[in-house]
């Protein structure tokens, strides 16, 4: 089916060219980072994880969200989602690929990465993250590909794929749980040291991923002859509405615990993020913007009349995606490092090369996404053509 990705319109090839150019620029800067070291980034002795790991964290969420299509379709036989599960699975493939790349570009000695396999260390959460991420990638490639192939050939998918599909459901939950465990099991980091982190990650995942999927569905409908369907989009919108509300609820739970208990090591990070600490507060406007975006999106999504209007729904999805991206892709990681465990306030701001490398990884993800969606949509168009 890969050949489907080779035949496309001028616009398709134009988009692919743009992505390849961005990937090229990012790769060039990565080569520089490889030579010089991670010193070209904004990271420091106090803030040792930055933009890369934050993007990884956010994208694990986007990846996990495929389960929001798979679960209703396969466990509850919600037939409507059968039409678009493939889009969710392929979105997961692209997102997990980005996750793995973001971890890779963050390594100080990338050529030694196989040490993780050579010296397996089950007490390290990173070891488990490696397993769940690669496993999830493999599951979604195999499932997505086989199911799509079966659809193309108008035959039922092979029997052995069913157990894999069921396995992929808890597996999706595991990737974000394990990713949260990376942070929430560390004794000296008050910001992350909370059991709500994994649930909160999952809630924001099930908001950000499906909201991106809605936007992608709207684009697919506009650009191709395949219509993902009004009902499908509305069902997704309800999922986003619940998830983003739960996400904000979890956040408020955390705020209550942190400020009512009045424990400084936990409060300081929130103060840094939302009002600034000792005169440092580079993220303050961002964090408030994130809250406002999420609040607005809840309003737009919960009220039926706005949710059912697809133009407004698109805006709501953009606000969900932007709000959760700021929350996880900017605040979540550096917020945990500032102030430092010794209570020094050294802020983190990504550098231009760092941002370009990150952009290159995003472009790689969108390249994978474009190719996979092109294949899926072309097959869907063909099948529809044969049927009519």
């Amino acid at each position: 089916m890969l050949e489907k990705a080779l035949k496309g319109s001028k616009r398709y090839y134009g988009w692919i060219t743009v992505l390849l150019a961005v990937i090229g620029i990012g790769f060039g800067f990565y080569l520089w980072q490889l030579r010089f070291g991670l010193g070209i980034t904004g990271m420091s002795r106090d803030v040792t994880w930055g933009f890369y790991i934050a993007q990884f964290t956010f994208l694990v969420g986007v990846a996990a969200s495929a389960v929001m299509l798979v679960l209703p379709y396969y466990l509850h036989h919600y037939k409507a989602f059968g039409r678009i599960t493939i889009l969710g699975e392929f979105l997961a493939v692209a997102s997990v690929s980005m996750c793995i790349l973001f971890i890779f570009v963050d390594l100080g000695q990338p050529m030694r990465v196989l040490n993780v396999l050579l010296y397996p260390t089950p007490n390290s959460i990173l070891f488990w993250d490696m397993i769940v991420l690669n496993g999830y990638l493999l599951l979604n490639i195999v499932i997505g590909w086989k199911v799509l192939e079966a659809e193309r050939n108008a035959v039922p998918p092979p029997g052995w794929i069913k157990p894999l599909i069921y396995l992929s459901i808890p597996w999706a939950v595991s990737i974000h749980t394990v990713t949260a465990f990376l942070y929430c099991g560390l004794p000296g980091r008050g910001f992350w040291l909370t059991a709500i982190l994994a649930p909160r990650f999952l809630a924001s995942a099930f908001a950000s991923g499906p909201s991106l999927l809605i936007l992608l569905c709207l684009i697919v409908r506009k650009l191709t002859k395949f219509d993902p369907g009004k009902e499908q989009i509305q069902s997704l919108a309800k999922i986003v509405a619940y998830a983003i509300s739960i996400n904000v609820f979890f956040f408020l739970c955390e705020v209550f615990v942190v400020f009512y208990s009045n424990i400084p090591e936990h409060m300081d990070h929130f103060k840094y993020l939302f009002v600034g600490l000792h005169g440092h507060g580079v993220l303050v406007p961002w964090m408030w913007a994130s809250l406002v975006l999420m609040a607005v999106s809840i309003l737009l999504l919960v009220v039926p009349s706005t949710r059912q209007n697809e133009s407004i729904l698109a805006i709501a999805c953009v606000t969900v995606f932007a709000g959760t991206w700021i929350d996880k892709g900017l605040g979540m990681i550096s917020g945990g490092f500032v102030p430092s465990p010794l209570h020094h306030v050294n802020e983190y701001v990504p550098t231009l090369p760092e941002l370009l490398i990150a952009l290159g990884v995003w472009a790689t993800g969108f390249f994978i996404l474009t190719v996979l969606f092109k294949i899926a949509v072309t097959v869907k168009e063909e099948v529809a053509g044969v049927a009519s």
Partner: protein, 262 residues
């Protein structure tokens, strides 16, 4: 040629995989090699100092100002080829000074005696009894040795910096760039590091191996005592019996092996 493109590609793929597997398997096998021929031995020096859990007692009463600490820091950084980075973000330090409020941020800070408020405290890796960094490391590049020292294997570190996120004491530094140009005078008896690996205090493992005390202990004029925490007869245990000591962030359960008499 009656063969579909698909089966042709599948065959080609499987063949390529097979060809690639052989060297990969060799690579895995080669890495384990401790290989010793019959009769060959690896030994510890008879002079090596031994303990169940090395620990340090720092008598801060014996320090008066930052000037008293500087020689200790200098000797450590000099013998271990610790670079002095110009950019503070890339700073590397094994042992350094902190004000009380930073060394002990969870301790009472408001009504400190003047001496303590003004006294800089020595901070270094705590060589914890339950080190969170060792728990976090995905390659066992940082590990706890039999004698309690939390050590770095620079050969194995992949530079993921999970250990730095895990350390509640800010004791670890990362080589954001090649450190060599920033070492004023290279000590030929100790290696430098390369870019992309994490480093920290090693309790002078290389000196203990030849029967010498850690460099900072030697340079401290008796203000720092070093010994076996598990040996009731040791000097550190005697000091702990006689003095009230504090440790950094004890509530976290890491079991720091650096004790401070204040």
């Amino acid at each position: 040629m009656k063969r579909s493109r698909r089966s042709f590609l599948q065959l080609a793929g499987v063949s390529a995989l097979g060809l690639g597997l052989k060297p990969a398997a060799g690579l895995f096998a080669a890495s384990g090699g401790h290989g010793r021929a019959p009769g060959e031995k690896v030994l510890k020096s008879e002079k090596a100092l031994k303990a169940k859990q090395w620990a340090m007692v720092i008598d801060t009463r014996k320090f008066e100002s930052a000037e008293d600490l500087e020689p200790l820091i200098e000797v450590c950084h000099k013998i271990h080829n610790v670079p002095s980075m110009k950019d503070k973000r890339h700073e590397i330090k094994w042992i350094w000074e902190e004000e009380f409020e930073h060394a002990f941020p969870t301790q009472e800070l408001r009504f400190l005696p003047e001496r303590i408020a003004q006294l800089p405290f020595l901070t270094l890796c705590n060589h914890c009894e339950h080190p969170p960094c060792v728990r976090a490391c995905p390659t066992k590049a940082t590990f706890k040795r039999e004698d309690g020292i939390v050590l770095m294997d620079f050969h194995r570190c992949i530079g993921c910096r999970f250990c730095m996120a895990a350390c509640p004491y800010g004791s670890r530094s990362f080589n954001f760039r090649d450190p060599r140009p920033f070492i004023e005078e290279i000590n030929p008896d100790y290696p430098t590091r390369m870019k992309g690996v994490v480093e920290k205090c090693n309790f002078c493992a290389e000196r203990l191996a030849v029967g010498r005390m850690p460099a900072c202990v030697e340079a401290s004029n008796g203000a720092i005592t070093f010994g076996d925490l598990e040996d009731p007869e040791s000097e550190v245990r005697a000091l702990l019996r006689e003095n009230y000591t504090i440790r950094r962030k004890q509530a976290l359960g890491t079991g720091p092996a650096i004790y401070y008499i204040v």
